[in-house]
């Protein structure tokens, strides 16, 4: 197995770990971490695919897209954290409701 394919598969694994945690956990900070891990997985697949053609230098276009993606991810994370803090000051906690036991 080539290193490119190996890291691409690792990227899909990271995406799945993140997705699972995003769906399972109710705490919003944990969900924000999970989305970041999912993004890391996607970036890993992109970068691994950029090294496929065994050239001296990998394809720079996916690299530029990943750098763009990292900056957009930190912007989205910062906004999500402020939203979470706003919800906490309004609701008293940062955990999504169960859906069953609190109908209030």
């Amino acid at each position: 197995m080539s290193a490119a394919l190996f890291y691409a598969l690792a990227g899909t694994g990271l995406f799945s770990i993140g997705l699972h945690a995003l769906l399972v956990h109710r705490h919003l900070l944990r969900k924000i971490l999970a989305i970041n891990v999912m993004g890391g997985g996607v970036f890993l697949v992109l970068a691994a695919m950029a090294t496929r053609n065994d050239a001296a230098l990998p394809d720079p276009v996916p690299h530029a897209m990943i750098i763009t993606g990292i900056v957009v991810a930190v912007a989205a994370t910062a906004l999500a954290l402020v939203l979470m803090l706003k919800l906490t000051t309004e609701a008293g906690h940062a955990v999504l409701p169960d859906g069953k036991d609190d109908n209030a």
């Binding site: 394919l5 598969l9 694994g13 897209m65 910062a78």
Partner: protein, 311 residues
């Protein structure tokens, strides 16, 4: 053989840290593991021959995101002291099993899709290499970011500004930190801040032909600002209103102005004359670096710096 082992160890560390960050019962520990995850990710980028991404990941992905998460954790703790009690709350029972099974199926499908991709995609590397001498810079990643796909970067700078506007519009107040910084933090910030500003300028300049660029430089600049904020520095009130906003908008506005000018002169968005491209890219990158740095510092603070004075 050795390098293969290294890849396996790095991938396992990545998985383990991601799992630990998302499954550990302690929220603080989760954040620290996530920062470690970002640092291992930076090593993986080096393994994949992507040092530009490694630099961005270490500065932004691990460094700044970590600072943002830790600051948010501290504020969360202050707002809701029982946050560690209910953070373990998660879906249980049949829904949990269902989610796990579906995620496993999706993992298998994604793995199959990646496995069956053709192993020798030509990509755009040759096109970039063929046109590199017309781009005005010799670092291919900078050429793609600022010239060939400049509109991506234009939108990205806008997204950063938009995120800040969103954060500011929520009306939180930045906490007033009365405690004086310790001796170590005080001395360290005095030593490190000038050095960080120098490193940022170097990364900006060298990005045209080697490792570096506007985003890495902006992130290092932001690190200097965050360090100063942690040491108790606050923006003087005279600079907090209009001057700060001008600095935040300078990068996006310059970029947008050049996009409009090139659209009117050339008929295409952000198409530079080859003989002007190098200077224009450096000009855009300089204003973008300052704005990116200021925006990231403002996002760390989470609220306009003058709001606490008004209340």
């Amino acid at each position: 053989m050795i390098s293969g082992m290294l890849d396996i160890v790095l991938a396992l560390a990545l998985m383990g840290l991601a799992w630990g960050a998302l499954a550990s019962a302690d929220l603080f520990k989760a954040i620290v593991l996530f920062i470690a995850f970002g640092l291992v990710m930076a090593l993986v980028w080096v393994r994949l021959n992507a040092p530009d991404i490694a630099l961005a990941e270490a500065a932004i992905g691990a460094g700044l995101t970590g600072a943002l998460l830790l600051a948010a954790y501290a504020k969360l703790h202050a707002a809701s002291p029982d946050t560690d009690v209910d953070n373990a709350s998660r879906v249980r029972g049949i829904p949990f099993i269902l989610i796990s099974v579906l995620t496993l199926l999706l993992t298998a499908a994604l793995g199959y899709a990646v496995w069956t991709l053709p192993s020798d995609g030509a990509g755009l590397g040759n096109d970039v290499a063929a046109n590199l001498d017309r781009s005005g810079v010799s670092n291919p990643v900078t050429a793609v970011l600022l010239n060939f796909r400049g509109y991506d970067t234009l939108l990205e700078v806008m997204v950063l500004l938009l995120a800040l506007l969103g954060a500011w519009s929520l009306g939180l107040s930045s906490p007033r930190r009365e405690a004086a910084p310790g001796l170590v933090l005080d001395t360290l910030s005095r030593l490190l801040v000038p050095l960080l500003i120098l490193v940022a300028a170097y990364l900006l300049w060298v990005g045209a032909h080697a490792l570096g660029g506007a985003f890495q430089a902006g992130a290092v600049l932001a690190a200097a600002g965050v360090l100063m904020l942690l040491a108790g520095w606050r923006l003087p009130a005279a600079l907090a209103a209009l001057p700060l906003r001008l600095v935040l908008v300078a990068g996006p506005a310059t970029f947008l102005l050049l996009a409009v000018i090139t659209l009117l002169l050339e008929g295409r968005l952000l198409q530079f004359y080859p003989q002007w491209a190098g200077r224009l890219i450096l000009f855009i990158e300089t204003t973008a670096t300052i704005s990116i740095g200021a925006t990231l510092i403002a996002l760390f603070l989470g609220a306009p710096p003058n709001r606490e004075d008004r209340q």
